[in-house]
C-alpha cells in the first residue's frame, strides 16, 4: 500500500487541507473508490477505512492481481468533517457539484479538478454516496443513464437492487456523471446511513466492492465474502414516493426492506403539542420499502418513504 497526497491546499490558520489516497497493486488503473465528498458522510468514510484495511491484507497475501491497481480515497472534504459541516466551510459549496472541476477556478472547483485529474483514467469508479434527505436506503447500486451505463457490471456488486437514474441538470456536475462521460464505468453505492455508523451496512458495502473487484479480475478470492444477491433493476422514476399529508412529529412503523401491501399503516403524523393524530400514512401500493426518511419532525408534503412497486 502506498499512501499519497492527491491534492493539497494551504490555509491561513488551519493545517493544510489534504485529499489523501491509498494505492494498492501496480499497473493498469483498474478501480478507484471514493468515500466522503461531504463533511457529514461518516458512514462512507468508515466504509472506506474498512476497505483500506481489507485491501492492505489482500495485498500482503498477494491477492491483488498482477498488473492491476486500486486507489481508495476515503475523504475529499476533511475540512468540513472536522467542523461538522456538510459543505465547504467558507462558501458552503458542494464539491460534488463541481466536477470535472477547474484548476484555475474557485476553491472547490480546484479541489474537484485536483481529484478528478488523479482518478479520471480509472476503468471503474465507485463512490459511496449519500442522499440529501436524512434517511436510510435498502443497499443498492445507482447508475446514471448517460448512454455509457452498464447494468450487467452493476450486478457484480451483489447488492439487492440496481437503481437507474435519469440525470437531471444538476447531476451533470457530479463525480459519477463525469466519470461516465470520461468513459469510466461509474457506480454509486448507497449503503445505509450517512452521519451515523451502521456496521452491518458497512460490511455489506465492503463485501459488495470486493465482489465487484473479484469478478472484474482485479483481486483474487477475497476470502469469506458472500456472493450477494441477484439484483433487481429499478428505474428511479418508478419508485413510489410517499408523502406526509400534514406536518408534525412522525411515528414510523416500518423499516427499509419491509414488505408492505396497499393500505398498510406506515406512519402516523402527530400534533406536536397534544399527541393527537393529524394524519395516517398508508401504503399506496404493494411493494418493498426502499427508503425511509429519518427525521422526527416532518413537513407537509415531505417525502418520507420510497417504495418499489411489486
Amino acid at each position: 500500500m502506498k499512501r499519497k497526497i492527491i491534492f493539497e491546499l494551504k490555509s491561513l490558520y488551519r493545517d493544510s487541507f489534504r485529499v489523501t489516497g491509498f494505492l494498492f497493486g501496480h499497473g493498469e488503473k483498474s478501480a478507484c473508490i471514493v468515500g466522503a465528498l461531504r463533511g457529514n458522510e461518516v458512514q462512507q468514510l468508515y466504509t472506506c477505512s474498512q476497505l483500506v484495511k481489507t485491501l492492505k491484507r489482500l495485498e500482503a497475501e498477494g491477492r491483488i492481481c498482477d498488473g492491476k491497481s486500486i486507489l481508495v480515497v476515503p475523504s475529499v472534504n476533511t475540512y468540513s468533517m472536522n467542523i461538522k459541516k456538510r459543505f465547504w466551510p467558507t462558501d458552503n459549496t458542494d464539491i460534488n457539484r463541481m466536477f470535472p472541476g477547474y484548476d484555475l477556478g474557485e476553491t472547490t472547483q480546484r479541489i474537484a479538478a485536483g481529484l478528478f485529474e488523479e482518478i479520471k483514467d480509472y476503468k471503474n469508479g465507485i463512490q459511496f454516496a449519500s442522499f440529501y434527505i436524512p434517511g436510510v436506503f435498502v443497499p443498492h447500486v445507482r447508475i446514471m443513464k448517460t448512454g455509457y451505463e452498464n447494468v450487467d457490471m452493476a450486478r457484480e456488486f451483489g447488492l439487492p437492487y440496481i437503481v437507474l437514474r435519469q440525470p437531471r441538470p444538476y447531476d451533470t456536475t457530479t463525480l459519477n456523471y463525469n466519470w461516465q462521460v470520461w468513459e469510466s464505468h461509474a457506480f454509486s453505492v448507497y449503503a445505509g446511513t450517512t452521519d451515523t455508523i451502521n456496521h452491518d451496512d458497512v460490511t455489506l458495502a465492503v463485501n459488495a466492492v470486493l465482489n465487484f473487484l473479484r469478478k472484474e479480475g482485479i483481486i483474487r478470492s477475497s476470502g469469506f465474502v458472500h456472493e450477494g444477491y441477484i439484483a433487481s433493476v429499478v428505474a428511479e422514476n418508478e419508485l413510489v414516493n410517499v408523502q406526509t399529508g400534514a406536518a408534525g412529529i412522525i411515528d414510523r412503523f416500518v423499516q427499509p426492506g419491509a414488505n408492505v401491501v396497499r393500505g398498510d399503516l406506515l406512519s402516523r403524523v402527530l400534533d406536536p403539542y397534544d399527541g393527537s393524530v393529524r394524519s395516517e400514512i398508508l401504503s399506496p401500493t404493494d411493494g418493498v420499502v426502499f427508503f425511509v426518511q429519518e427525521e422526527p419532525l416532518v413537513y407537509a408534503n415531505a417525502s418520507v418513504y420510497k417504495i418499489i412497486r411489486e
Binding site: G105, P169, A247, Y273, Y299, A300, N301
Partner: protein
C-alpha cells in the same frame, strides 16, 4: 392586494407562506418583480419597497399589473440562510419543481405556476456575502435575442451575455424562460447589505421598462446605456494563496494591465503572500468584499475594454 402564492404547514405551530403584492389598474400587461430566492441576498428588498412606494404614490399612472414577490425563501431571509433552512438546498437549483414532490419542489412548482404568464419577470439577486457586483443583467446566449433589448431599459451598467450551462437549467429564470415567460436575472450589490444607490437605480429602470411596456404613464428617466458583453471580455482573478485580501482599488474602478488590485496578506507573519495585479485594461465590475480567502477564491472580475 396581498395574495398567498403557496402555504405549507410547518411541524410546530407555524405556517410557511410565500406571498405577493398584486397592484393592478386597467387591463395592460403584467410585470413580476421577484427576489429573495437566496436568504442572504437583500438588495431586492429595497427595490421591492421602492417600486411599491412609487406605485402607492402615483396609482393613476398604472395601466396593468405589477406583482411583487419579495421573499421566495422567507425562512432563509428570516434566519440569514442562503439556501432553504432545514434542507441545505440552493432554492435556485430546484426549479421548475413538482406538484407532487417534496415540500421544496412543491413550493418551486407553485412559484413557477404563479409567475408564469407574466409579460416580463425581473428576478433580482445580490451576489453573495463574498463579492460586490455592479448592477447588471445576466443573460444566457439562448435567450439573448429576446432579453437583451428588454435589459437595455433597466438602467443597468452592464449586460453579461454568458454561455449556457446545463446546471443552470434548474434555475427559476431558465424554467420561466422555457415556459415562455421572459425573465431577466439582475445581479447587483453584495449579500446581507443594501446599497441604496443601486436599489434606486434598478427601481428607476423597472419603471422605464414598464413605461416601454405601456403600463406606466408616469415620468421616467432616460435609462443608462449598459455595456453589453460576452464571456470572452470578462477576466477572472482568483486568489493564488490563502490569506486576508486587502483591496487597493475601489469597486467599479477603471484599471490598466499591471495596475495594483490588492494584496493577500498573512497577519501572522506580516508577509504579503500574493500581490494582485490586473491582467488587462478594463473595469473592476466584481470585487471581493469578504476579506478571508482560500486559494482559488474569486477576488475580482474585470470587464476588458
Amino acid at each position: 392586494m396581498i395574495e398567498t402564492v403557496t402555504k405549507i404547514d410547518l411541524p410546530v405551530d407555524e405556517s410557511l407562506r410565500i406571498v405577493k403584492n398584486r397592484i393592478q389598474a386597467g387591463k395592460g400587461k403584467r410585470i413580476s418583480i421577484v427576489t429573495g430566492t437566496h436568504g442572504d441576498e437583500l438588495e431586492g428588498q429595497a427595490v421591492c419597497f421602492e417600486v411599491g412606494k412609487r406605485l402607492r404614490e402615483q396609482p393613476g399612472c398604472l395601466n396593468g399589473t405589477v406583482d411583487i414577490y419579495p421573499a421566495l425563501n422567507p425562512l432563509g431571509i428570516d434566519s440569514i440562510t442562503r439556501g432553504i433552512p432545514g434542507f441545505d438546498l440552493d432554492m435556485n437549483r430546484i426549479f421548475p419543481g413538482s406538484e407532487d414532490g417534496a415540500m421544496t419542489e412543491y413550493m418551486a412548482s407553485r412559484i413557477v405556476g404563479d409567475i408564469a404568464g407574466s409579460d416580463v419577470c425581473i428576478d433580482i439577486h445580490a451576489s453573495n456575502i463574498f463579492l460586490r457586483e455592479i448592477p447588471q443583467a445576466r443573460i444566457n446566449t439562448h435567450t439573448a435575442q429576446q432579453l437583451v433589448p428588454m435589459a437595455e431599459f433597466l438602467n443597468l451598467d452592464f449586460v453579461w451575455v454568458h454561455a449556457a450551462a446545463t446546471v443552470l437549467e434548474s434555475t427559476l429564470a431558465h424554467s420561466l424562460n422555457s415556459a415562455g415567460t421572459p425573465t431577466l436575472v439582475v445581479e447587483m450589490g453584495v449579500g446581507m447589505r443594501i446599497t441604496r444607490d443601486y436599489c434606486r437605480q434598478l427601481a428607476d429602470g423597472i419603471f422605464c421598462l414598464m413605461h416601454r411596456m405601456g403600463i406606466w404613464t408616469g415620468e421616467v428617466i432616460a435609462p443608462k446605456k449598459p455595456i453589453i458583453s460576452t464571456d470572452g471580455q470578462v477576466q477572472f482573478i482568483n486568489a493564488a494563496a490563502s490569506g486576508i485580501f486587502i483591496p487597493q482599488v475601489e469597486h467599479t474602478t477603471q484599471v490598466c494591465r499591471g495596475d495594483y488590485i490588492g494584496d493577500i496578506v498573512s497577519p501572522l507573519t506580516g508577509i504579503v503572500v500574493d500581490r494582485i495585479l490586473s491582467p488587462c485594461d478594463g473595469m473592476v465590475f466584481t470585487l471581493r468584499e469578504y476579506p478571508v480567502v482560500d486559494e482559488g477564491s474569486l477576488i475580482a472580475r474585470i470587464l476588458e475594454v
